[in-house]
Symmetry: C2
Subunit: 131 residues, 2 copies
DNA sequence: TTCAAATACTATACAAAGGTAGTAATTAAA
DNA sequence: TTTAATTACTACCTTTGTATAGTATTTGAA
């Protein structure tokens, strides 16, 4: 698995918050704007808040605000939060294979592609997505 | 999802069969040799047989034999059999995003990586894996 | 102070991928 | 012909990712 739905949700949310740094945006608004299921979204938001990528404000007029400069948030930061794979796992997505008898049969072949994707996640920030 | 566990299983099986073209290899042997769950494996084998990548022989001394020249079987052939994604789906693995408001925010960025992986699957055959 | 709008928390449901179990059907060899 | 080894078929179980429901907590504004 290169990237899952939850991670895409999170990236899109951060992108939206990056465009409205001034006032908090509620989960309801985010849900409607980005067409993400409300209840699922709130759990994603809570996790982003715990990881301090965003600040949350309860109560009336509350919502979420991006906590850093968008240019300082790498896509990889967001992906990591919602990933259970170890960072250096092979693209084959099967932890049992790479490392036990050496490498899986695909390891070397896709290593370059994998590395290229990983570098993109590292090198691209939320701030750059809107440009 | 670039490639899942089942697809890796299938590729490894074909690679094994390619090394023993003469006599049928039983599912039991394959399961033990490649450390793939037996019952799950037999279902994969049946599907490979239906798709005519392998021939199956029932009864005593039965088993499976690769049905083509290993150099004629592209990895993509195998991947396709166990894939439910449409071939041109975006790497974001979320069909609802690419195509509705144009492209997803990641589409362009990972397009090159995706294409590179796809080309690898097309250009690499079972026969080349062992070399 | 009250109330409505909002996040936080917990439990549950659903769907897909991966895995297991049991039985039927087939077949070569003894 | 019998039997053991094998694939084929069908149903179910488990895990993980995604989604839903209900309630508690917080807080600004009327």
């Amino acid at each position: 698995m290169i990237i899952n739905k939850t991670q895409i949700y999170a990236i899109r949310v951060l992108e939206l918050l990056a465009q409205h740094k001034e006032t908090p945006i509620s989960a309801k608004t985010i849900s409607q704007t980005l067409d993400i299921p409300y209840k699922y979204l709130t759990r994603v938001m809570t996790k982003l808040s715990l990881c301090q990528l965003i600040d949350s404000y309860r109560g009336k007029e509350g919502g979420f605000v991006i906590a850093k400069s968008p240019l300082e948030i790498q896509l990889q930061d967001i992906v990591d939060i919602f990933s259970n794979e170890s960072p250096h796992q092979c693209i084959c997505a099967d932890g049992s294979m790479c490392g036990q008898n050496g490498k899986c049969i695909l390891h070397d072949r896709w290593q370059n592609s994998k590395e290229s994707i990983h570098q993109s996640f590292l090198n691209t920030t939320i701030g750059e997505l809107s440009t």
